[in-house]
């Protein structure tokens, strides 16, 4: 499946993320502008150098977000692709820039993702409109009344809780406490990340004793709704060679860029199958990059809920099949472990401004590869992987490598 026809290399030239959290005085254009200007400055380029824009936003997906940002920062007439792909929106915007360069349409592209989500609460479920006065079957299930809460649950914390529980049923070893310990790790990691929405260390007791949302996910085990943006300038390998040595040194190689959807599996339309498409994306990415899971110095994966992080250890091949519980218990995924996962604090504490997430995780890895991660630097990091899942479903995986320049 991996394309090898286009031999052009892809590099991150500049990248930036805003602080994640509450930004009541900024709209999505302000947040996106901050990220885009940051990425352009980081790469030493301007809007005039950019040949294409992939603009990601979910909650205002009808808006021409890319053009709104152009109208503040630079209207150069280049094509804009406004994309919306659930929680994989940011990764999808990045793929747009990558594909355009691979296709030879431009040698430099910009991707950004922006979201305002502070105080948003549950993002799905409750499609239950008022029941009518006369039962009338409607929709694809011929339902006479709303089904959320009557036939299972539509809310994300409940859906992803079941995904973690299903793994436990298949392989054993899971428990409320185990999932809470994953959250404890990420909240601990976040204390070193000044851009995280929440940077408070939480004890296991605090996590397990917090408000239950959907067992076994308590509130701190759920991704944090917040505001934020991230942007990246992607450049072709040939163009990069014409730039300054300083730009070449700080550039980070995108050695794999993959987007998949969920192939049909039994039950995939009953409970979303977030596993198969992640396994497929990871396999394609490792092949494209010519690296394996054992080569990864850090991983930023989609811990939208603590129950989700566990299954992705397995899906990304970080452990042997069925071995995610033992892998976590070994301490491997803590920042001092063999495969540090979510040293940013992850979605549970760094926050999850949906469309920004798939570029913010690339920023996190790129910052470590550049050796610029400050107190939370993973020493000597050379290769890292980012992963997002959007229900529906879409999975984005990127593998990044430190420049040899």
């Amino acid at each position: 499946m991996a394309s090898t026809s286009a031999s052009e290399e892809l590099w991150v030239l500049g990248i930036h993320m805003t602080k994640f959290g509450k930004h009541p005085d900024k709209d999505i254009v302000d947040l996106a502008s901050e990220a885009v200007r940051g990425a352009l400055a980081d790469g030493g380029v301007t809007m005039k150098d950019i040949g294409i824009i992939g603009a990601g936003n979910l909650m205002m997906a009808m808006a021409p977000t890319g053009q709104m940002v152009q109208k503040q920062l630079g209207q150069t007439g280049i094509p804009v692709y406004n994309v919306s792909n659930a929680c994989a929106t940011g990764a999808t915007a990045l793929r747009v820039a990558c594909m355009a360069i691979k296709a030879g349409e431009t040698d430099m592209g910009l991707a950004f993702g922006v979201e305002k989500l502070s105080g948003a609460g549950l993002l799905a479920g409750g499609s239950r409109q008022g029941d009518t006065n006369t039962w009338t079957p409607s929709g694809r299930y011929g339902s006479v009344a709303a089904v959320d809460g009557r036939i299972g649950t539509e809310i994300m914390p409940g859906v992803f809780a079941q995904i973690g529980m299903e793994y436990g049923h298949k392989y054993g070893g899971t428990s409320f406490e185990l999932f809470a310990k994953i959250s404890e790790k990420n909240h601990s990691h976040s204390t070193l990340n000044p851009l995280a929405a929440y940077t408070k260390k939480m004890t296991l007791e605090e996590i397990m004793g917090d408000v239950m949302i959907a067992y076994p996910n308590t509130r701190p085990m759920c991704s944090a709704n917040c505001d934020g943006a991230a942007a990246a300038v992607v450049v072709s390998g040939s163009k990069l060679k014409t730039l300054s040595l300083e730009q070449q040194k700080r550039a980070v190689k995108i050695s794999a860029s993959v987007l998949t959807t969920d192939p049909w599996e039994e039950a995939c339309q009953i409970l979303p199958d977030v596993n198969t498409l992640t396994r497929n994306a990871a396999a394609q990415a490792y092949e494209q990059a010519g690296v394996g899971p054992q080569d990864l110095n850090l991983v930023e994966l989609h811990d939208c809920f603590a129950t989700a992080e566990l299954v992705h250890y397995d899906n990304l091949g970080l452990c042997e099949r069925g071995g995610a519980v033992d892998f976590f218990k070994s301490g491997a995924t803590w920042r001092d472990g063999t495969t540090p996962v979510n040293v940013s604090g992850g979605l549970e504490s760094k926050g999850h401004p949906i469309a920004a997430t798939g570029i913010a995780n690339v920023w996190e890895v790129a910052t470590h590869l550049r050796g610029e991660a400050g107190d939370r630097q993973i020493e000597g990091a050379k290769v890292g992987l980012t992963h997002v899942i959007g229900l529906g479903s879409a999975c984005g995986v990127h593998i990044l490598e430190k420049s040899a320049a």
Binding site: Y141, G149, T153, G158, I163, M212, W264
Partner: protein, 132 residues
């Protein structure tokens, strides 16, 4: 007895209430919604297939926080009905992790969810623990 109507069209009422799937005539993939084609093999012929009334809990969550109007807590689950996965609530069992477990054997039951202005009852379904 009041007139009854199923909550969803894949629930068959009567003396032996059960679920019925749209089964792809070509590859056997099963679906509960109205189909345009088979997502597995692209076939367009479907037959009706009765789904086993018993199964085991493959995944569950106890929803404690839901949209307004939805009574909580409740147990949402995926039940493996002899090879066909079904989304449903677990009923007639306390909604706590001491009483619900992975692999638990369950059976389909129906329950009236309300009546409309004509007195017609809408009937939903759930799964309850089998035996003791």
């Amino acid at each position: 007895m009041a007139q009854q109507i199923p909550l969803v069209d894949y629930l068959v009422l009567g003396d032996d209430p059960h679920l019925v799937a749209n089964e792809c005539a070509s590859c056997g993939a099963r679906y509960f919604d109205r189909r345009n084609a088979c997502a597995s093999c692209e076939g367009t012929e479907f037959t009706k297939a009765d789904v086993s009334r018993t199964g085991e809990v493959r995944a569950f969550t106890i929803v404690a926080f839901a949209a307004p109007g939805i009574p909580v807590p409740f147990v949402a689950a995926v039940v493996d009905c002899e090879g066909t996965s079904v989304r449903a609530n677990l009923v007639n069992v306390p909604a706590d992790p001491e009483h619900v477990s992975l692999g638990m054997k369950v059976r389909l039951v129906t329950e009236v969810i309300g009546s409309d202005d004509n007195g017609t009852e809408a009937v939903g379904f759930g799964f309850e623990p089998l035996g003791g």
